[in-house]
């Protein structure tokens, strides 16, 4: 019996070892692995286009990261901390770039590549790919939020946001008067930080005054006129029910649903809502007349006459520091971000280019009649605080500025400052 046990164990060991041995051999051109965020298949398509263009020099395969940005960051950070050499190229959400750049998880971008990938690129995207004055990622696509509005509601309120920029106060008054809901993201998620940051930046302030400082020396900018104004707007929308009953759980998709329904009025959201709304009409789940009623304009102002600083988002490409093919990965990344590929990505997946050239592409103009507004918005967009401690700052904002109805200009800015400071010093849990 003992002999049989041992032979079973030996067979089992062999069975485990064989597939591993099979992995070790690799034939053909080097394979580059691109970790992508989930989209409508655009990145997979671009990967195959670039594989073809490389003519056998390399092959790009894609691995899909989790759905939300926070989980994408978690996975990449953990893999990179373990020096994962399988990560050649990764799609990165800009706020998390400093955190990965600081410990050297991203391969440095040579100056000639840096120059090539920043020519004819919107400033917001370059800023989002820069850490400590050096380009650490390659700008891919750049996102920004617009003010979307129902023309009928704006007209009834006597507003024309496309011609004259509107203020938060004006759209709040319009929604209140007509008993409609405003589309803002009040869920306890990253989208809340995006909103808070845009409000504070539009009022002339910053969440972090010195984003490059170390954790215990960061200075927060909530306790300022800008912070209080932001709290005033958010608290009022929450308390007066202007965001509807779904506000405390509304993310970007939920906001869009509310906007498409009868009580929709004004909404701040990313351009994906345009392709999503059109797709819903094509599927027959939405009435076609809604599309004709939708207008778009620059993000609302906090102070009348002062340009808003809309949110900036998107994806930049990082090169894995532990990759065995850094040179090829840099080459492949430049292929991925070519203006043609960016234009293709925008037209098919609704993700706006960071390259200004791509906006002149005829397929872009056709699919997104608001492309010009997006480009203008990107030039004015303000990034979220760029710090290796972004996750703490963002989660701290979500803890103290949620639910929107509880936000009070007299107390919330101070609470947020105290709480985030304590967390950054390691004195409190998040």
């Amino acid at each position: 019996m003992r002999r049989r046990t041992r032979s079973i164990a030996a067979t089992a060991a062999l069975a485990l070892a064989l597939p591993l041995a099979a992995c070790a051999s690799e034939s053909g051109p080097p394979t580059l692995t691109w970790y992508i965020n989930p989209d409508n298949g655009g990145q997979v398509k671009i990967a195959s286009l670039c594989t073809q263009a490389a003519k056998g020099e390399y092959r790009i395969t894609t691995e899909v990261l989790p759905r939300d940005a926070a989980s994408q960051r978690e996975q990449l950070a953990r893999r990179l901390a373990a020096k994962d050499s399988s990560i050649d190229i990764m799609s990165l959400d800009p706020p998390f770039i400093p955190e990965l750049a600081e410990p050297g998880f991203l391969a440095p971008i040579p100056s000639d590549v840096a120059e090539a990938v920043t020519t004819d690129v919107v400033q917001g995207a370059i800023d989002g790919a820069t850490w400590r004055d050096e380009l650490v990622a390659i700008p891919f696509w750049a996102n920004t939020q617009l003010l979307w509005y129902r023309k009928s509601v704006a007209e009834a309120a006597g507003l024309d946001p496309a011609k004259t920029p509107v203020t938060w106060q004006q759209i709040m008054d319009a929604a209140a008067e007509q008993d409609k809901f405003l589309g803002v993201q009040g869920a306890k998620a990253e989208s809340l930080t995006v909103w808070v940051n845009a409000l504070i930046e539009s009022a002339g302030g910053h969440i972090l005054e010195n984003p490059e400082a170390s954790a215990d020396e960061l200075t927060l900018g909530f306790e300022s006129d800008a912070g209080r104004k932001a709290a005033e707007i958010m608290g009022t929308i929450g308390r007066e029910g202007l965001g509807g009953p779904g506000l405390p759980t509304a993310d970007e998709n939920a906001t869009m649903t509310v906007f498409q329904r009868d009580r929709g009025s004004f909404m701040v959201n990313w351009p994906f809502v345009w392709s999503a709304t059109n797709a819903a009409v094509e599927d027959g789940t939405l009435d076609a007349s809604i599309v004709d009623d939708i207008g778009w304009a620059m993000y609302p102002q906090v102070d009348e006459g002062t340009d808003a600083r809309p949110p900036y988002g998107g994806i930049n490409l990082g090169i894995g520091a532990f990759s065995t093919h850094v040179d090829l990965a840099l080459e492949a990344a430049q292929c991925i971000v070519s203006p043609e590929n960016q234009a293709f990505y925008f037209a098919t997946n609704g993700n706006p280019p960071s390259s200004t050239k791509a906006y002149d592409d005829p397929q872009v103009v056709e699919a997104f009649p608001m492309a010009d507004v997006i480009r203008e918005s990107l030039e004015k967009a303000a990034p979220r605080p760029q710090t290796p401690y972004y996750n703490e700052v963002s989660t701290g904002v979500q803890e103290t500025w949620h639910p929107p109805a509880s936000v009070n200009p007299d107390t919330t800015p101070r609470e947020a400052t105290d709480f985030i400071t304590a967390v950054l010093r390691g004195e409190a849990l998040l």
């Binding site: 046990t5 950070a77 410990p103 405390p248 759980t249 509310v258 390691g426 998040l430």
Partner: protein
């Protein structure tokens, strides 16, 4: 836990061989076979449980952030001080505690009723009935969490529409925007999903109650309620306590439902989620490990209370006692 009955026997059989001469060759061979069969599993278990536990304890003594590996520094018990003096931890502890108590109690009552139905149901229906009752337990927790989330969601859910005749429920009720309603949905989904588990364990207990005892009680003129109270329940105490212990341990580690439905918003953070958010979200390995170690101690505490105070006899529940 149950292996403790095997281990001492096996060692003494070798060291105290002369004194235990009564032990036959066959018994010794069986003990050895037992080691051969259980040994590999035992080693694997040690490797996958003891090692991470020790590693977590070690990490919990450091100030250690995954994205700043060079700043790793020993800080004694500072992490534990931070955790234990933080209201966030105690709030999470309280929420976890409430969820555990409420769900286990409700599941116990419902599970017992289901077990009774399965035990006594008409024989033709028994198979179908058992399968039907077990369906929720077969569903992956994340899937059931999403199903419940979308059912109650203010935009896509149907619950507000179906139950609008109940006071307090209307189209504008946002279940996930308040602590009470969020916890209600989280607990309801937990109960829906795991009641079958408890009812299975109770069913095993029910079938262990000797039929003649019940018959005797019936002959003596005991009512159904008296028979249940005096004969059935005392005879299935062991099975009940094991069911309670297993479910309490499970419920205390609740994660999926909360993660999917609220992600801890509106005071619904539970201990597992707090540990996750700290270790995985913030990448603060030291602080997160401290929370995990405390969570582990809580689980040990529940085991201790159940086994010592309520005298749960795991062996007897397996039919060995």
């Amino acid at each position: 836990m149950t292996s403790s009955t095997v281990v001492p026997g096996a060692t003494t059989s070798e060291s105290d061989a002369p004194r235990k001469a009564r032990r036959s060759d066959r018994a010794r061979d069986e003990a050895r076979l037992g080691w051969w069969l259980a040994g590999p599993a035992f080693v694997v278990m040690l490797a996958v449980t003891i090692y991470p536990i020790l590693q977590a304890f070690y990490d919990s003594l450091f100030s250690y952030r995954l994205t700043a590996p060079s700043d790793k520094a020993f800080n004694g018990g500072q992490n534990y001080v931070v955790v234990l003096t933080d209201p966030v931890f105690w709030q999470a502890f309280l929420v976890t505690f409430v969820i555990t108590i409420v769900t286990v109690l409700v599941e116990l009552v419902l599970g017992f009723l289901l077990a009774l139905v399965m035990h006594r149901a008409i024989t033709q229906l028994r198979g179908v009935l058992r399968t039907a009752i077990l369906v929720p337990y077969g569903i992956i927790t994340v899937v059931s969490a999403f199903a419940w989330f979308y059912a109650f969601d203010i935009n896509s859910g149907f619950v507000n529409h179906w139950f609008s005749w109940l006071p307090g429920i209307d189209a504008d009720l946002n279940w996930f925007a308040h602590q009470g309603t969020s916890l209600f949905v989280i607990m309801a989904s937990e109960i829906w999903k795991t009641t079958p588990f408890i009812s299975l364990l109770l069913l095993a207990g029910l079938s262990q109650v000797p039929g003649e005892l019940e018959e005797a009680a019936q002959v003596d003129g005991a009512t159904w309620w008296q028979r249940l109270q005096r004969v059935v329940l005392p005879n299935m105490k062991a099975a009940t306590m094991v069911a309670v212990l297993f479910r309490a341990l499970d419920a205390f580690r609740i994660f999926d439902n909360v993660f999917i439905m609220t992600n801890g918003a509106n005071g619904t953070t539970v201990l597992s989620l707090l540990a996750y958010r700290t270790s995985i979200g913030r990448l603060e390995i030291g602080l997160g490990s401290a929370i995990s170690v405390l969570l582990f101690l809580c689980v040990i505490g529940i085991c201790f209370v159940a086994i010592k105070l309520f005298k749960v006899d795991l062996a007897s529940a397996r039919g060995e006692g």
